[in-house]
Symmetry: C2
Subunit: 121 residues, 2 copies
Amino acid sequence: MSLVMTNTQDQSESYVCNPNLQLRLGTVESEQFALAFKALSNPIRVQILDLISQGGGQICGCDIERHFDLTQPTISHHLKVLRDGGLITSEPRGVWVTHRINMGMLTTLQGLLMLVNNTKS
Amino acid sequence: MSLVMTNTQDQSESYVCNPNLQLRLGTVESEQFALAFKALSNPIRVQILDLISQGGGQICGCDIERHFDLTQPTISHHLKVLRDGGLITSEPRGVWVTHRINMGMLTTLQGLLMLVNNTKS
DNA sequence: GCCTTACATAGATAAGTTTCGATATATGCC
DNA sequence: GGCATATATCGAAACTTATCTATGTAAGGC
């Protein structure tokens, strides 16, 4: 890439270094990605997701609380953020609620990272 | 998984549904992941990353600003968040600053997603 | 040296996040 | 029905984030 202006025809309007860029992700799409990544934007939630992924697909809240120095409402909040971000699903099972990884969402996020990592040089 | 208590020896101390879970990610490690995901936790930044990935590895700020209805300082702030999260690098080139994807970080994030997506059923 | 352009920084404000203690809900056991 | 346990919700405090306007900095062209 050169940093010289490439679309000389349009010089009076605005400088453009690289006029070929297009937004490939729409507003709604990028908002959904952002919501999912927001769920992963906290170290506790990253660790919670790691625990859930080890639980044979399912673990209950008390299994999570043991590992952190946080109160039960705080863990409950983090689980809700993960749920709202689409990263896990939760299902009542009597007194407990079991949580499992939403593999489809994880695969979707991997797809986005691969898209932006596919840098042409 | 059964929700019946599995470590009956330890019943008086605390209920444990799934006693085999271990935190595989340390505090420092999960904080670094969280910082990188935080950089992706905003729809504008997801779109900026998409643009940068199309720029042949390098584009300048003016190429980004054109696509959004935001002021220059706001775009500058978002680029800094992406830089601090390790997702892009930025290099002065005369009057411009070029930005490029940090492929190593993207690969690392893909690795974490694969780890937690590798759910045993 | 001076002007223009690209980018960064500072300071303000409005909105969102994290965490807590207190309380509500709902399930299962006696 | 009454109690214990697991989880959710509420409301508040402290902190962080997104955005703006105004201003600073630094490079290149004349």
